[in-house]
């Protein structure tokens, strides 16, 4: 799942997969601006058929936080 999430983020932001490290956050690279962040979240929702709750959306600003929330949602 971790690899899949990273692949989606890389594809949406149009960067190499190696760029998408666990510690990468919104704002660290120009492609991951506010519009890029929305694109990442909405694409992950669509492709993994999940729905991030409203209250966690603002915290989904790093690779690790997105992976953690995806795993949590899928396990729930």
């Amino acid at each position: 799942m971790e690899k899949l999430v990273k692949e989606i983020i890389a594809r949406v932001l149009n960067v190499d997969l190696e760029v998408i490290t666990d510690t990468l956050s919104s704002g660290d690279i120009p492609q991951w601006d506010s519009v890029g962040n929305l694109a990442v979240i909405s694409t992950i929702e669509q492709e993994l058929n999940i729905e991030f709750p409203l209250e966690v959306l603002f915290d989904l600003t790093s690779v690790q936080s997105i992976i953690d929330e995806v795993i949590k949602l899928i396990h729930d």
Binding site: L38, I41, S42, L54, F58
Partner: protein
Amino acid sequence: MSQLTINNVRIAGMSACVPATVEDNRTLPIYKDESEALKVITSTGIERHHKVDEGTTASDLTVKAVERLLTDLGWAPEDVDIFAYVCTSRDYIAPQTSCILQDRLKLRNDCCVFDLPFGCSGWVYGMSIVGSLMSHGTLKRAILVAAETNTLNRNPRDTAVRPLFGDAATATALEFDPDRSHPMNFMFGVDGSGYDAVWAPYGGMRRPVTPEALVEKEVAPGVFRRGIDMIVNGMDVFGFAIKQPPRSLKELISTFNIDTDTVDLLLLHQANRFIDEKIRKAIKIPPERTPYCLEEYGNVTSASIPLTMVSRCSERLAGDDKHCIACGFGVGLAWASMEFYAGGVKCSDMITY
């Protein structure tokens, strides 16, 4: 919580005017290729927007919208007791644009006329202010304008704003109706600590225009701005928009004991479809009761709720009373929610100028 109830006021009619020129996000020259544009469209829902030509102002669009509305309602200009102009893209620093419009629209010299310089929450705030003035019964007919020319004060080379914002003017006709059984209910909110989430740093009295403020700089790759340009700090706005509007609507629903099963229309500020859908789901309103017009017009700030009503809901509003809740949120940071019923509303056909 600040709340307000207004009795004896109804919406009689509405109109909207947009510029004829359309910018399609797929072909904007600010993108390297169409995939960049599609990313923005997918994440915001905004495909295109209307843009005024050089020399056209929000007041020009307003004249068209108001003249058509008065004609369609059979109101004469001298019938109007209140004229309120919600707009931040004013014609001049002084005087207030509403004064100029009083003359252009041939309104009476004793008409109650004022500007309301609100952003995205402006139509809801305007309804509360104008409705309050009318509820006493001495001022019987009003025109509330919500208009903006966002493309004139945002940098066309700023990729963070150009695809998102458009221009429009709307007019809402309100009428004193002592037999009206449904009140309008309001909740208000503001957080001025976020004033710089959406702002123009230069051009006011605190930071007057200087030669330096007119110099365009690349502040991030592909993002060019001058000091006088309107800036939108996307992450700050995102954090605000997913927090305060749903909270405000939930407070409205709780305070006024609204049964959401009876809500016919959820009218949201048209900022971003992804965010608006999150808000809709948070208060459990079905998608068919939540109209959108942002795909065609973009974010037109204070005009977005009335533009949605005119362009997407005219048939529904013409019939029996529809139970509506609305939320405007943005610049300020300010927000406001309202509950109202609207029926027998004369919506003019969309106007292009």
